[in-house]
């Protein structure tokens, strides 16, 4: 029963994209997109329960549904639904774009579709293609506003990520080549086949391929020093697109790195591969901390926070062990929720104050008690303070790190998380207190501008107050399936 559900997700999303693209009219498009997002969310929730622990393949082994892939899809469906609600409010603010809005929703649904395709690819080459498609579609979303900054961001995004993905393709070819020494010149390219050849193939060649793949997909994940496209793309796209890029797309690319890391687990190069991932994660935290403390633009602040959190997730998977992986998986969901909340709040305030500069936004709760309060809570959540979910997942990752061979990174991570906590909230202190702004904001926020923020906050608070045993067991099963026992 799981396969018809998966196909239904694809068909619904594709149909929504086509309908929005063909039929003009913004109101119709926003409803169709919202309907698709809601239906996708329900269907993915069903998959979450119904997917067998060991995973299942279909279509001659081209598709693979396993716990990890469905978990990534769940994070994605959550963000897609929240962002679709928020987009209804946010996109109506774009004056003069009314006639093009249906195209925005078509691209938005198409973007979600490409991301629903990626996690279930059983062929590493086709997974690469799916990630490439996400880049192409999202570049148009980043450049949707046609402002010079947006176009510049879209251009930098697609050039840097394409160059990075070129490295990942080279890594994929070298991986396949390493396998030909074991299985003969022609064999099916699947994750399982790669896993089977790894213990017998040449370990140096495998490590070379892994490093290329790590740098390649790491570019897409936004790990420093390949993160340079990320602050541009995340800050210049419309706010719902920023949330999708940050909360959904980065996880989809991280999935590839983790799968390849899992393949190297049975080889002598496991330690080197883990350390490489940990070093990139640790460096991402450093870069994020430095840029967050000196940031002047609100959405770039949130974007560097994404670099930080992908660094944390990379550290979790790099540390390995049940705690590291469970923490990293939980962190994916928490980050998706909290980062959507922060981007939605940033979108509201940027519009209200007519500026993206932190210096121009002052006394937020004075003018917007509800939206501002939620935004502030989101900022506290995203910096990893209790009682929110990110605190629990970061703590679990730290615990996992203590037991790993890279325990040095635990101290590094703890110190930088504190620096980021101070630096990030200091910007929010300035925006929430400080002197009266010269021009008081005069807009009214409607229900759709605030409701997705409230839902995201409630979820991330709930996940922080009580880590449901069912979720822990589900994540532990995924970790076990990834080989971390």
């Amino acid at each position: 029963m799981i396969w018809p559900i998966l196909y239904a997700i694809w068909i619904v999303t594709a149909a929504a994209a086509a309908a929005c693209g063909i039929i003009p009219g913004a109101r119709f498009a926003e409803r169709v997109n919202l309907f698709a997002a809601g239906l996708d969310f329900v269907l993915v929730c069903y998959l979450l329960g119904a997917t067998p622990g060991a995973g299942a393949t279909a279509l001659n082994g081209y598709l693979l549904l396993d716990g990890f892939g469905v978990w990534v899809m769940f994070c994605l469906a959550t963000v897609y639904l929240l962002a679709s609600v928020y987009a209804i409010g946010y996109m109506r603010w774009m004056h003069g774009e009314e006639a093009r809005l249906n195209r925005f929703y078509a691209l938005f649904a198409a973007f979600a579709l490409t991301m629903f395709l990626a996690p279930v690819q059983n062929n590493p080459g086709l997974y690469w293609i799916a990630i490439d498609f996400t880049t192409i579609v999202s570049a148009f979303l980043v450049g949707f506003q046609r402002a010079p900054e947006s176009i510049e961001a879209a251009w930098k995004y697609i050039v840097i990520v394409s160059a990075g993905l070129g490295l990942a393709l080279l890594g994929t070819v070298l991986f396949y080549w390493a396998g030909t020494f074991v299985l003969g010149p022609v064999y099916d390219m699947t994750w399982a086949a790669f896993g089977a050849i790894a213990p017998k193939a040449d370990s140096v060649l495998l490590l070379l391929a892994f490093l290329l793949l790590l740098v390649g997909f790491g570019t897409k994940v936004g790990l420093a020093p390949m993160h340079t496209w990320l602050p541009d793309a995340h800050s210049e796209g419309p706010a719902p697109v920023s949330a999708m890029l940050s909360g959904a797309l980065l996880n989809c690319a991280m999935l590839g790195i983790v799968r390849y890391l899992g393949i190297l687990r049975s080889t002598p190069m496991e330690g080197a591969a883990r350390t490489a991932l940990v070093v990139l994660g640790a460096f991402s935290l450093l870069v994020a901390a430095l840029f967050i403390t000196r940031q002047t633009v609100i959405k770039r602040l949130a974007a560097y926070s994404s670099v930080e959190h992908m660094g944390v997730v990379a550290l979790g998977f790099g540390f390995g062990g049940p705690l590291g992986v469970i923490g990293a998986l939980y962190h994916m969901l928490n980050h998706s929720l909290a980062k959507s909340l922060v981007f939605f709040g940033a979108g509201n305030m940027m519009h209200a104050y007519g500026s993206k500069e932190i210096d121009r936004i002052r006394r937020v709760t004075h003018y917007f008690p509800r939206s501002g309060g939620l935004w502030l809570a989101g900022a506290v959540a995203i910096t990893g303070a209790p009682p929110f979910g990110l605190f629990l997942s970061e703590l679990t990752i730290l615990r996992g790190g203590m037991q790993s061979t890279n325990a040095w990174a635990v101290w590094w991570m703890a110190v930088l998380l504190i620096v980021i906590f101070i630096g990030f909230l200091n910007k929010f202190r300035a925006m929430f207190f400080g002197p009266q702004p010269e021009h008081a904001p005069r807009i009214e926020l409607r229900f759709v501008h605030v409701a997705p923020m409230a839902v995201a906050l409630a979820a991330v608070l709930g996940l922080g107050l009580w880590w449901l045993p069912a979720i822990w067991q589900h994540l532990a099963a995924i970790a076990a399936q990834l080989g971390e026992v």
Binding site: N123, I129, P148, I151, V159, Y176, M189, F291, R294
Partner: protein
């Protein structure tokens, strides 16, 4: 595997074609006329198509003949045509703000090839393939990759950025024809069409750049920093 038992004639032809492809990358590196880049890219694609066909013939992979035809059609004809159209639209015939003179870029490129050879040779020795064509294929693959990156770094024009990325792609495609001719057909097909979509996307974005910013030089894309 193909590279283990290859008759000497085929081996020499493969080597020759691989080296021609490498030299064509140097043609791109040594010229600042954008049109020359496109012609060199087209020629390189045709060389790769010939290589695919020959690998298919000597290695008994009939599907590679099909791939060769598609390579010649898409990479060798359609992509260059699209690129020439973009150039004609922009009236941008020359790279005006290169970081280095052509001669210096050529020397840098030569060093990159030496580095690639050192890497490929070490890998070859490790895999006990040191005197086979695999080393040459790996060298070309790494060298085209690095030369592509060099072009991305040194050139500022948006069209040059596309060509740099295409050189990287060509390197991978060329290497994979020799190293892994048995790679699933579906994958190679999808990658070919993917390339077409990417280039169209780039073309569209370049037009936006031209219209909204009035420039297509990455040196002037300096609004977003920090």
């Amino acid at each position: 595997m193909l590279i283990f038992h290859l008759d000497p004639l085929a081996s020499s032809i493969f080597s020759l074609l691989t080296i021609v492809a490498l030299i064509l990358a140097f043609v791109m590196l040594g010229s600042h006329w954008v049109k020359n880049h496109v012609y060199a890219f087209a020629a390189e694609s045709w060389v790769i198509a010939a290589l695919s066909a020959l690998v298919g013939f000597y290695g008994h992979y009939p599907e590679l003949l099909f791939i060769a035809a598609l390579t010649a059609l898409l990479r060798g004809s359609l992509l260059p045509y699209l690129l020439l159209r973009i150039i004609a639209d922009l009236k941008q015939s020359r790279e005006f703000t290169p970081l280095l003179q052509p001669s210096s870029s050529l020397v840098l490129g030569a060093f990159l090839v030496l580095f690639s050879y050192a890497l490929a040779h070490r890998l070859g020795v490790r895999m006990q393939l040191a005197d086979s064509i695999a080393v040459l294929a790996l060298t070309t693959m790494f060298a085209l990759k690095l030369i592509g990156f060099l072009m991305l770094v040194l050139r500022a024009e948006a069209v040059s950025a596309i060509l740099g990325l295409l050189v990287i792609e060509n390197g991978i495609f060329l290497g994979s024809q020799i190293l892994v001719p048995g790679m699933p057909l579906l994958l190679e097909l999808v990658i070919l069409f993917d390339l077409l979509i990417i280039v169209s996307t780039f073309g569209l974005l370049i037009r936006y750049l031209h219209r909204e910013l009035g420039t297509t030089s990455s040196r002037e894309l300096t609004r977003l920093v920090g």
